[in-house]
Symmetry: C2
Subunit: 237 residues, 2 copies
Amino acid sequence: MSTITASEIKFIRSLGEKKYRTQTGLFIVEGEKLVAEAMASGFTVQRVYRMDEIGEDVMKRITLLSSPSPALAVVEQRKDTPETDFEALSIALDGIRDPGNLGTILRIADWFGIDTVFCSPGTVELYNPKVVQATMGAIFREKVVYRDLREVCEMFASRGKRIWGTFLEGSDIYSEALSDSGLVVMGSEADGISAEVGSCVSDRITIPSFASGQGSESLNVAVATAITLSEFKRRLL
Amino acid sequence: MSTITASEIKFIRSLGEKKYRTQTGLFIVEGEKLVAEAMASGFTVQRVYRMDEIGEDVMKRITLLSSPSPALAVVEQRKDTPETDFEALSIALDGIRDPGNLGTILRIADWFGIDTVFCSPGTVELYNPKVVQATMGAIFREKVVYRDLREVCEMFASRGKRIWGTFLEGSDIYSEALSDSGLVVMGSEADGISAEVGSCVSDRITIPSFASGQGSESLNVAVATAITLSEFKRRLL
């Protein structure tokens, strides 16, 4: 067994808190597959702890998951501001609070070939362990930029790009003219798109319900993102 | 404050366990909105407990949620076997284990006007509190039938209906001919569609990835269900 000091254990555990992640610029990745993806990515992996080296008891003490996995890595947060390809389709998230939703949306964006995901400052932190795990590795491939979304919209608008916003009422996404570049804005779980960001939207779109009578009032935001991106992307085929 | 006995508290808490739900044929619904939907539905509500009547302390003792809500109802499970409309589109879930996924799928089915959802016996129990909450009320509108999926497929096949199965490899869903009746089978999170059920599938379909390089390997099953139903339903427009 390789040794691990008490202060090292304490340090790793502290990375479960946003305050310490921000202070150190580090985050935790857990799971054999996810750790391997971190190491193969452009991210800098500071150290990897393996259960067969440090033992199950120590792994149980440092894990942020409900049950320990075979590997845990301490990884450096990405500090560069990635460039945006304005000729591609990007998405913007306005105040997504649930870590599982953010992680799932990154996984969906990755699937649909969306490179850049803008997040409002009120969106849950990217390096929250629940976000990291829910991305299933997409966190290592997506460019995620936290920035005031009015500024982001302005960047797209100044280049003549359309800014779609998804609302409970708007043009039917299935018949609306879509395109292969621009910005798609998704609103928060509770409040949808904020008034300030909504005023920057050029095209209000909606996913119509097919329920015959009284149906569900809304879709989960990750689910709505998936349907929206599916519809944008299939049009290119 | 109305009174509530210690044995009543114990009884309600016991409904957090599948064993007692099955024994009693009851389940728990929490939240002002969900309780109101239960009462307006065809389900029989045995009793409603309100925080302003029994007090916050008691509510904290009976809630199955992390924080108590203003209302909790004890509701009777549906015992009838609903009829299937073979001229409509139905879905079948083969071994979905995650309660959040099952609940989200029912919400999606409700949105897309799917009346009947078949579940393999290995699918998580419908009345699991996490399923109930995740449906956001769709549990009161959807017909959910637990049954061997090979029998279900046979029912559709004998009526000349197609049985689509979603796989990581298959015909591109965006170009495949779809129809407004038949059965769409979704596989489990870990294993996809089982070999036995897969052999009953007439059309293997897949949602293609649009990632340019190495992208995510799969989509969450609720997300895949949403994209699939969106594609089936938009064709009717």
